[in-house]
Amino acid sequence: MILSANPSQNEIVNLLSKLKNETPEYPSDLLAARKAAFIEQAVGIQFNGPKQGGKGGGDGGSSSLGGSGGPGALGGMSTAQGFLLQAVVGVWIIAGMLTAAYVFRDQIIDLLQDNGIVVEMTQAPSIDSPAPVMVEPAGESPLPVIPPTGAISSSETPVPETVLEEEVIAEDSSGDPAISENPEDTKDNPGLHLGQTPDAPDTPNEKKPDNPNKPDQPDKPDKKK
């Protein structure tokens, strides 16, 4: 077949159609393996439910020839379910390890000590002093008596009587004559109270000494000049 210098559309279409026969066949071994994987995937979906996500399912199916399920390996389990399952398994493993460590703690300590590892153990503090006991008094305190409403009883507490000041003065003066209310004025006692002591009279023409710690100051110019 020789193509013309300026090929028509029909010539191109004919060429394209003939390309169809030139395409190689699907290799039988690959086809059989792919079919087996497809059927296996169908069986898996029947038991586990549909896979989540098209690409994950596709990858899981296509890569099953290589033995790895890829993202679709969890079958029909959703992401949330898978995460929950992983969390439960993780907690279960940790709980098992802690329980085993507690049960075999003596053996573990012995093993560590045999290997030269010093294990410091802190003992729980012992409480020697007993707890304080409340001792109740022998006699029971009487319950307060609440008077009935409306019956106002007078208090038995004696009310101090008002004593006139004149009577007290009279009693004091009669009891101790040395003490008088109004002491006599003397020259030594001008009747001043504490803090009212008169200042000493200024001595005329007497200069007060300068402060020796005061620094020397230059002479100030006389403003009145």
Binding site: P7, Q9, K20, E22, P24, F38, A42, G57, S62
Partner: protein, 183 residues
Amino acid sequence: MKDESAVLAAASSLDQDALAAIFDEYAPAIYKYLLRLGVSSQEADQTAGDVFARLLDKFAEGKGPRKNLRSYLFQIAYHLVIDESREMRRSTPLEAAESVSEDMAPVQSLAEENMLLEKISMTMERELTDEQKNVLVLRFQEEFSLKETAEIVGKNVNAVKALQNRGINKLREAMSKEFGGNE
């Protein structure tokens, strides 16, 4: 395939015989279609597996096709190839892409006609866009109608016609440059 609707109904309930029948009927065609699009044989095998895995997922979800299974499978294959092509453009350097393109030439023969076929196949790889190449393969090698092709590539019939005409004209120009001077 005898009574496609009955087979589809059985396959939608994950009947193994029905699923096996579908695979036997369409897996070789899907594989060839992928090779015609320029996909390597290894990738074609893997993508064919992905196509049927996705079909299985749809059946398991209670969805999937109720008729025209062939178009449905080719549609899945088309989208997988487009996705893969975009991914390859992002990750493969230009030189590597060129060498892959050389390796993808599906036809190797010594006869003159086969040389022409090899030439047009390589020209398709180099000159046409992915959409043009897909439309030409679906129309003239897989023999889908315009309407079916439009469904597969997700465009309307007029857009498919335009892609088809542009693709053929590009091939004409390239082939006339290649062989026109020898005449």
